[in-house]
């Protein structure tokens, strides 16, 4: 009863009532709200890195090289005396940008092709389906390594490699969703009243498979961050002196025992970012009731 009174008192104040509802939401969905909160912070950092970084990430300083974590250099410094903390901040920006652009490309291309393939079927479906199966048959990392290796290591090619790797994932999800929705009576009825294919696809099928696509986007985004990190770690992504979370780890690799902080902190940041996105994706998968769409 006492609790309830407190709630009632606060209702007059708009901000407190917002806080209360946030708190209630947090209690109901702890993983989702924790995930969104951290993801919000990470996004903020990567949009405004200047406000968070304390040094220029590319500024070398021979007198401060190989220093462990301290008050001035939170995460220590690397071989060239660059501040790891600032490099991690800017690296997060690079990694998130690469991941979001490449997943965006796969989302658009993959779901467009999937919609077409699932809706029209026939020979288009056969050809596209085989093509995607072939891309799908190779492990993601291997394919990305080969594509960016052949095209030459650069940021642009890494984005392209990741986009190619994840297109079949969106294709499959969009295609199976489209096939399931196309069989529903409401699609048939709109066909009967003379709706065009374009209208059926855009107004009826796409909104119904969007939940599937949202979950797939979240999951792919998490994997894309890992993939970008792996590519940069192998020297096939972002080129020096620009930092990316993977390339900082690559710089630190020869000095693992000597300067472990170069390897520990960027890894933790990758881990945390991917973990919160996976938490969000996993919860969305449960909440949006994906199984209803496919079966």
């Amino acid at each position: 009863m006492k609790k309830y009174n407190n709630l009632k008192k606060n209702q007059n104040n708009k901000i407190s009532s917002l806080l209360v509802s946030l708190k209630l939401y947090f209690l109901r969905e702890p993983f989702l709200s924790f995930g969104i909160f951290i993801l919000f912070l990470i996004t903020l950092i990567s949009i405004f890195p200047d406000y968070f970084a304390s040094f220029d990430p590319r500024e070398t300083n021979a007198s401060t090289s190989f220093k462990g974590p301290s008050i001035t250099h939170w995460f220590g410094t690397d071989t060239l005396g660059r501040d790891i903390y600032s490099r991690v901040i800017y690296g997060t920006r690079t990694s998130l940008t690469v991941a979001s652009i490449s997943v965006g490309i796969s989302l658009v291309i993959g779901s467009f092709l999937g919609l077409i393939s699932g809706y029209y079927g026939g020979i288009i479906d056969q050809i596209l389906g085989r093509l995607m199966d072939i891309i799908f048959s190779l492990p993601a990392l291997l394919l990305a390594i080969v594509i960016s290796g052949i095209l030459g290591p650069s940021l642009k090619n890494a984005v392209m490699a990741i986009a190619i790797v994840y297109t079949p994932h969106f294709f499959r999800v969009a295609r199976s969703g489209t096939i399931a929705i196309s069989a529903r009576p409401f699609v048939l009825s709109s066909k009967i009243i003379g709706a065009t294919d374009f209208r059926i696809l855009v107004d009826h099928i796409f909104p119904n498979i969007s939940a599937l696509l949202i979950v797939q986007t979240t999951v792919s985004f998490a994997y894309a961050i890992l993939l970008e990190a792996s590519l940069s770690f192998l020297g096939l992504g972002v080129q020096p002196p620009n930092p990316s979370l993977g390339s900082i780890l690559n710089d630190g690799r020869p000095f693992l025992q000597l300067t472990p902080w170069m390897s520990i902190f960027p890894g933790i940041v990758i881990f945390l970012s991917v973990l919160v996105i996976n938490l969000i994706g996993d919860t969305l998968r449960d909440r949006l009731d994906i199984s209803q769409g496919i079966r």
Binding site: I134, P139, L142, G149, I150, L226, L249, L256, N278
Partner: protein
């Protein structure tokens, strides 16, 4: 059953042929001509000489003729020669394939037996309790750790606390089994942890599905203990999807092997591939990706057929 086997195999062969075509096509995307890659730019060859080399290598013919010749050689096991070391690619690849397969196999074993099944059973047995949530967070965390970072951290921990460092030369298990295992253990753990999440989920869901069946209720009503029901009735019946997803997981782990081999300096296909990419040694790149890709396609065919064989319901639906 035989209809299903034939259909699945033919389907796989089409995909395999497509892959071969795709990899051949990828090599044509290489910026600059192959001859330019091959000859030393400083040697001062004139255009005529370059064209002669191109004709000698058969690069002036149309692409389908080139593909035909290359594909015929490939079917006979001749994957060309390395541009850098002049060694036959198949000779380079052979011993390294064993290392990669051993690593992926050990990692799959770890992720199924030590992580996937125990955690999945725990989560299924305590559905919607805190144990279930803990397993879920743990498997999501395992999914989120970059494999190469996990490898580096394991090296760091073991070198600081146990004075261990990754050995420089690889020992075959037939020479010294213990040395081989102690070398492969850490990379296999790092890799197995990364691949465990789908197995945990699969085990949990299929055990839960089986636990809702009537025969489980019957087993419980005649007085079997929960543990006995779980291990004697639920797990065996839930094992078919677990086995097949373990097969698919093996394929996924083959991808992760590339980075982990680099971190632990193991002489596998992945390291060969990375080395070939940095030296722009394209016949080797081609052979590495084709070997792993084709291996995966045939593994998938095998897993699908095994699934149909173990579970008759699948093959009747699919027929």
């Amino acid at each position: 059953m035989s209809y299903y086997v034939i259909k699945r195999t033919l389907y796989g062969l089409v995909t395999a042929f497509g892959l071969v075509l795709l990899v051949f096509g990828l090599m044509k995307l290489i910026p600059g001509s192959v001859v330019n890659q091959l000859v030393d730019q400083s040697a001062g060859f004139d255009q005529k000489k370059l064209a002669e080399i191109e004709a000698f290598l058969g690069l002036d013919r149309p692409w389908y003729v080139q593909f035909g010749t290359w594909f015929r050689d490939f079917l006979m096991g001749d994957m060309g020669y390395s541009w850098r070391s002049r060694i036959a690619v198949s000779q380079l690849l052979g011993p390294r394939l064993f290392v990669t397969l051993e690593l992926a196999g050990l990692a799959t074993l770890i992720s199924v037996i030590f992580i996937g099944i125990p955690n999945g059973l725990l989560a299924a047995n305590y559905k919607s309790k805190w144990q279930d949530t803990a397993v879920r967070v743990f498997s999501l965390a395992a999914l989120s750790v970059p494999v190469f970072w996990m490898g580096s951290m394991l090296i760091l921990i073991f070198s600081v606390y146990f004075n261990w460092s990754p050995p420089l030369t690889w020992v075959s298990p037939t020479d010294d089994l213990w040395a081989n295992i102690s070398m492969m253990a850490l990379p296999a753990i790092a890799l197995g942890l990364a691949g465990a999440a789908p197995l945990v989920r699969m085990t949990r869901n299929s055990v839960l599905e089986v636990k809702g069946q009537n025969y489980i209720r019957t087993a419980r009503s005649i007085g079997n203990s929960e543990i006995k029901i779980l291990f004697n009735h639920a797990l065996p019946n839930a094992s078919i999807p677990i086995i097949t997803s373990a097969g698919l997981q093996f394929g996924f782990l083959l991808g992760g092997v590339v980075v982990i081999e680099e971190v632990f300096a193991l002489p596998g296909v992945g390291r060969l591939l990375l080395q070939a990419i940095s030296q722009r040694d394209f016949p080797v790149v081609q052979a590495c990706i084709l070997t792993i890709g084709l291996f995966l396609i045939f593994l998938n065919i095998f897993v699908d057929i095994l699934y149909a064989y173990l579970d008759p319901r699948i093959r009747f639906i699919k027929e």
